[in-house]
C-alpha cells in the first residue's frame, strides 16, 4: 500500500512544524494545534507520535520507550508505525538515538546536544485540577495567575503533611509558565533543568504542543519549608543488575510475598550489565 512519508500529509506536518517552532520560542506555553487522526486512538500517544512524524527524516535513528521499556506493546507499535512509513533505523540505546519518543520517563542516560526527546502527554494543563474551563485556564496563564497551582500543593500539605503529587509534578519554566511535565516521576523533573537536548511535549487528545529548549530554567513548584524532593531509592538495589541510584519499579513476588526492585529504564540496565566488569 502506498502512503505518505511519515504517515501524515505535508499540510498536516507543516501545521505541526509551525506550532512546534512557536512552542520552542515560548518555553512552557501550550500552543494549540489541530491534532490529526492517526491509526491509534487519541490518548495513546498521538500527540507525541504527531511530533515524531513531523520531525523524523532519513538520517534519524529512533528510540521509542513506554514507562522505561522499549518492548511494551505501545512502544513496539508506535515504533513499527514510524518505521513502516519512513524506513528509519531504530535503536534501544539512548546514546545512539537522534529522536526519542517516550511515555512517562526521561531516560537515565542524559540527553546529548541536538538530541530531541518527545514526551507523550495525557493532560497538558497543570491548572486543570483547580479549573475545569479551558477558556479560564488560558486567561490564568495569560495573567500569570498561578495561585490555584500553589493552593493545590498547600492543601496537600494541610491534608497529608507533605506534597503528594508523584508523577506530573508541576514546574515553572523560564520563570514564566507553570507547566505539566507529563506524568514523569518526580525523579525525572531535575533532568529537565539546563539539559543539553530539546524536550518537546505533545498532547494529541487535548491538542497542545509545548517545549522546553536546552539550557532552560525549570523549577518544580515548592515551598521554602516544604522543598521539592525526588522519590528516594536509598539503600535499594536492583535485583537484576545490582544498580543503585536509578528509578526502580517495585515488584512483588506473588508466591513468597517478597518485595523487590528492578531498574525501570530497561535499555540502560542492559547497557550497564553488558559493560565489562559490570556490577553483576
Amino acid at each position: 500500500m502506498k502512503q505518505n512519508y511519515a504517515f501524515l500529509d505535508e499540510n498536516s506536518k507543516k501545521e505541526i512544524r509551525r506550532k512546534t517552532l512557536k512552542a520552542i520560542a515560548i518555553p512552557g506555553y501550550q500552543v494549540p494545534f489541530a491534532s490529526r487522526e492517526l491509526p491509534i486512538a487519541r490518548g495513546w500517544g498521538t500527540g507525541g507520535l504527531q511530533l515524531t512524524l513531523s520531525l523524523v527524516g532519513q538520517s534519524d535513528t529512533v528510540k521509542v520507550i513506554d514507562q522505561g521499556s522499549d518492548e511494551s506493546v505501545n512502544a513496539v507499535n508506535i515504533r513499527k508505525l514510524i518505521q513502516d512509513t519512513t524506513d528509519v533505523q531504530d535503536t534501544i540505546y539512548t546514546d545512539a538515538a537522534t529522536l526519542i519518543q517516550s511515555r512517562h520517563r526521561i531516560p537515565e542516560v542524559p540527553l546529548k546536544p541536538y538530541q530531541i526527546l518527545v514526551l507523550q502527554v495525557p493532560l497538558p494543563e497543570p491548572l486543570r485540577p483547580v479549573e475545569p474551563s479551558e477558556r479560564i485556564t488560558k486567561m490564568l496563564h495569560a495573567d500569570r495567575e498561578y495561585s490555584g497551582a500553589w493552593l493545590r500543593l498547600f492543601e496537600q500539605i494541610m491534608k497529608y503533611g507533605s506534597i503528594t503529587d508523584d508523577a506530573d509534578y508541576p514546574v515553572l519554566v523560564n520563570g514564566r509558565y507553570v507547566m505539566a511535565p507529563s506524568p514523569i516521576p518526580r525523579f525525572d523533573n531535575p533532568k529537565m533543568e539546563n539539559n543539553d537536548g530539546l524536550i518537546l511535549l505533545g498532547a494529541g487528545r487535548e491538542k497542545k504542543i509545548y517545549a522546553v529548549p536546552p539550557y532552560t530554567k525549570v523549577t518544580p513548584l515548592a515551598f521554602e519549608d516544604y522543598p521539592f524532593e525526588v522519590e528516594s531509592f536509598d539503600g535499594i538495589t536492583c535485583r537484576e543488575s545490582g544498580l543503585t541510584g536509578v528509578y526502580m519499579d517495585e515488584l512483588v513476588n506473588e508466591e513468597t510475598g517478597e518485595t523487590y526492585y528492578v531498574t525501570n529504564d530497561t535499555s540502560y540496565m542492559l547497557e550497564e550489565m553488558n559493560k565489562e566488569g559490570s556490577v553483576r
Binding site: Y5, K14, R17, I24, Y29, N174, Y177, P213
Partner: protein, 186 residues
C-alpha cells in the same frame, strides 16, 4: 531518493535546532529553482513553513506571486495581520517594525515571524546572545543594523509577547533569534 518531502523535513530540522539554540549558524543546502529575489535558504524556509493557512507580507512585486504559487500562502498588504514577514534588511523601516503583530497575552503564538535577508552572517557587528537554549553566552557576527535589534527588544520586552527572527545571508547561512533571547551589541 530525496524529494521535496525530504528536503523540507531536513530544512525543518535545521530550524528546530536553530530555534532551540539561538545564535548558532547553519548552511542550507536546499536546492530548488529559485525565481524570487531572495537567497535559496529564504525560499527553503518559505516552502517549509508556508501553506494556505498562513498570511505573509513581502515588499518586492515579484515575490508574492512566486510564494503564493509555490505554497498557497495568502499574501497580505496589511503588515499587522501577517504571520510571516519576508524582507531584505534594507527594506526594514520603523513603520514595518512597529506594525508587526506580537500576539496577545492569552495567545502569544499569534505573532509574526520575521524572515530577514542580511548581507552576511559571520562578519559585521558582534552580538552577544543570552537566554533559553544558550548555555552561557553565544556570540555572533553579522551585518545587521543594531537599531533593528533595539526595535526588536522593544517588541519583545513583555514576554511572552514578541516576534521571532530568522536571519539568512546571501551565502544561505541561517541563524535564529527567538523572542526569549537577550541581545547585546558589542
Amino acid at each position: 531518493m530525496t524529494t521535496m518531502v525530504h528536503n523540507t523535513q531536513k530544512h525543518y530540522r535545521e530550524l528546530v535546532d536553530l530555534f532551540s539554540r539561538p545564535g548558532e549558524v547553519r548552511i542550507s543546502t536546499f536546492d530548488i529553482p529559485n525565481f524570487t529575489n531572495f537567497p535559496d535558504a529564504v525560499l527553503a524556509t518559505v516552502l517549509t513553513l508556508f501553506d494556505n493557512e498562513i498570511t505573509f507580507y513581502t515588499q518586492d512585486q515579484k515575490n508574492p506571486g512566486e510564494f503564493q504559487t509555490l505554497t498557497g500562502g495568502q499574501f497580505s498588504e496589511n503588515l499587522s495581520e501577517a504571520d510571516y514577514v519576508v524582507v531584505k534588511e534594507h527594506e526594514l523601516t520603523e513603520d514595518v517594525m512597529r506594525s508587526l503583530k506580537t500576539g496577545t497575552l492569552g495567545s502569544p503564538e499569534k505573532s509574526a515571524t520575521l524572515i530577514i535577508e542580511v548581507d552576511s552572517i559571520g562578519e559585521g557587528r558582534k552580538y552577544s546572545l543570552k537566554g533559553p537554549g544558550i548555555k552561557t553566552a553565544n556570540e555572533i557576527e553579522m551585518t545587521f543594523d543594531p537599531k533593528w535589534m533595539i526595535h526588536r527588544m522593544e517588541l519583545c520586552s513583555e514576554f511572552p509577547l514578541g516576534i521571532d527572527m530568522i536571519l539568512i545571508d546571501r551565502r544561505n547561512q541561517l541563524t535564529v533569534i527567538p523572542r526569549t533571547t537577550i541581545t547585546e551589541v558589542e
